[in-house]
Amino acid sequence: MLLEKEIVIKTDKLTKRFGDFTAVSEISFEVYKGEIFGFLGANGAGKTTAMKMLIGISIPTSGNATIAGFDIYIQTEQIKKSIGYMSQKFSLYEDLTIKENIQLFGGIYGLSDKEIKSKSEELINKLGLNNEADKLVASLPLGWKQKLAFSIAIFHQPKIVFLDEPTGGVDPITRRQFWDMIYEAAHNGITVFVTTHYMDEAEYCDRVSIMVDGVIQALDSPANLKSKYNAESMDEVFLMLARGAKRGE
């Protein structure tokens, strides 16, 4: 599907230790432009620690990585400008209106007032939130908040967007509408790096990695993983690999 495999994330033996505990142990992988990359693992496998290094807020103990071409030791500020981030836990300011949230994040990412104005109108129209634009985000249903948060995370057209369990607790139809938006972003060339506990969502990824005890145990397309592990579903693949986990649970 991808015409050229431009690499946007590259890690080489990336490692993070806390004292004598190795949270992430020598992970090496590449993610391509426009790819939807699922980053899976059991609780405590090291996903969050790895993600913090990739978005430039945690300095690795050893190993190397570049994000959108920038080095994660010394170019963390450039990395932050090239990425978008959203998580289930924090995404938007509840006591600002929808419009104000868009303006705030647009400003933080360095867009001009003019750009913010035209693009925010476009976004509000697209999401069908015209009547809600001046309401507080707190008044939106969760599903809408998550859709808005995602739109804001890609508002500045980042190279990569990191999504940390973006669909937790969301109703099944909204969850799928959310994935429609992910597909569209990827189609427009934004690389999507996503974690989830919904194994059906793993199937929507171009490739997935499965972390167990700080290392990447498997990395391939869902179809290849299923055939390699002779499994019917990604759920089965995950159970096979993560059952062997020693730490965390």
Binding site: M1, G41, A42, N43, G44, S139, P141, L142, G143, E165, G168, G169, V170, D171, P172, I173, T174, R176, W179, D180, Y183, H187, H197, Y198, M199, D200, A202, E203, Y204, P222, A223, S233, M234, D235, F238, L239, A242, R243, A245, R247, G248, E249
Partner: protein
């Protein structure tokens, strides 16, 4: 006697000018010894129902009983008889594993030894860490400790509010295996979850959305009552396929479901060859179309419409 009974229960919250009806005229009952699931997304009203039944919150209208006791009049009796695991981890973070368990046992006038049988399966996995502070445990271990604390006084009913949210698939599976064992010991369990795949592990379920119950029945009956033909469609380019299927004239709904898209038609009598030809024309030469049995999630989405 029903273990739990709710009659026309309503609960609203207001902040400023906005009034939110969290629980909207809900009635259902849970039989003794039953494993009953409240299945629905955030904002469905699940937590409000739990808090009303555990006597921590007053309803605006309607009434409810737990083991025959009224949730308002007999709150003291109810608190002795139920175990409650709230959605948010609410043990003492700065007490150790053992101290937490001891604390809850003492509050209910019992000891860890007296009811050790009931929790031994679960607690055994925690014992190597019994001197660790609860705040320093991993998510899965916190969940096991919270369940142990909710069980230590041998409750007749367990209320588990989203015990598996944010928990990985392996730990979720283990948790449900624990619930099965507790049910076998005669404990009635009311459990809520946003994960639709967990619904099939319950005896009966209530599908719930924005304060209203969409349907109550056994998982099998709910699946059997899905009255449309459901198809699973797969091709090499799933994103294009989704859009193409949605543009097909006879498509009623089409959603991604893992490796397939699930599809229903406006007219179930239509010739499937029409779809095959359409897909070939749209560039999906290798598309496969299978008729399938719905999952609970299909039913939930159909009922949401």
């Amino acid at each position: 006697m029903n273990a739990i009974e709710l009659n026309n229960l309503t609960k609203t919250y207001s902040s400023g000018k906005t009034v939110v009806t969290a629980v909207d005229d809900i009635s259902f009952s849970v039989n003794e010894g039953e494993l009953f699931g409240l299945i629905g997304p955030d904002g469905a009203g699940k937590t409000s129902i739990f808090r009303i039944l555990t006597t921590l919150l007053l309803a605006d209208k309607g009434n409810a009983t737990v083991l025959g006791f009224d949730v308002i009049k007999d709150w003291k009796a109810i608190r002795d008889l139920v175990g409650y695991m709230p959605g948010r981890f609410s043990l003492y973070q700065d007490l150790t594993v053992e101290e937490n368990l001891n604390f809850f046992a003492t509050i209910f006038n019992t000891t860890i030894q007296e009811n050790y049988d009931l929790i031994s399966d679960i607690y055994k996995q925690l014992e190597p860490f019994k001197t660790r502070r609860a705040g320093k445990l991993s998510g899965g271990m916190k969940q096991k400790l919270a369940l142990s604390c909710a069980l230590i006084h041998k409750p007749k009913i367990l209320f588990l509010d989203e015990p598996t949210t944010g928990v990985d698939p392996v730990s979720r599976k283990e948790f449900w295996e624990m619930l099965k064992k507790l049910k076998a010991q005669g404990i009635t369990i009311l459990v809520s979850t946003p994960y639709m795949d967990e619904a099939k592990l319950c005896d009966r379920i209530a599908l719930i959305q924005i304060g209203k119950i969409l349907k109550i029945d056994t998982p099998i009956n709910i699946i059997d009552s899905f009255d449309k033909k459901l198809f699973a469609v797969h091709s090499e380019n799933m994103f294009k396929l989704l859009n193409d299927l949605r543009s097909f004239e006879n498509t009623e709904s089409c959603f991604g479901f893992g490796e397939n898209h699930h599809l229903t038609f406006k007219d179930d009598e239509m010739n499937i060859l029409d779809l095959e030809n359409y897909l070939i024309k749209s560039g999906h030469a290798k598309a496969t179309i299978k008729i399938i049995k719905p999952e609970i999630e299909d039913c939930f989405m159909e009922l949401m419409k």
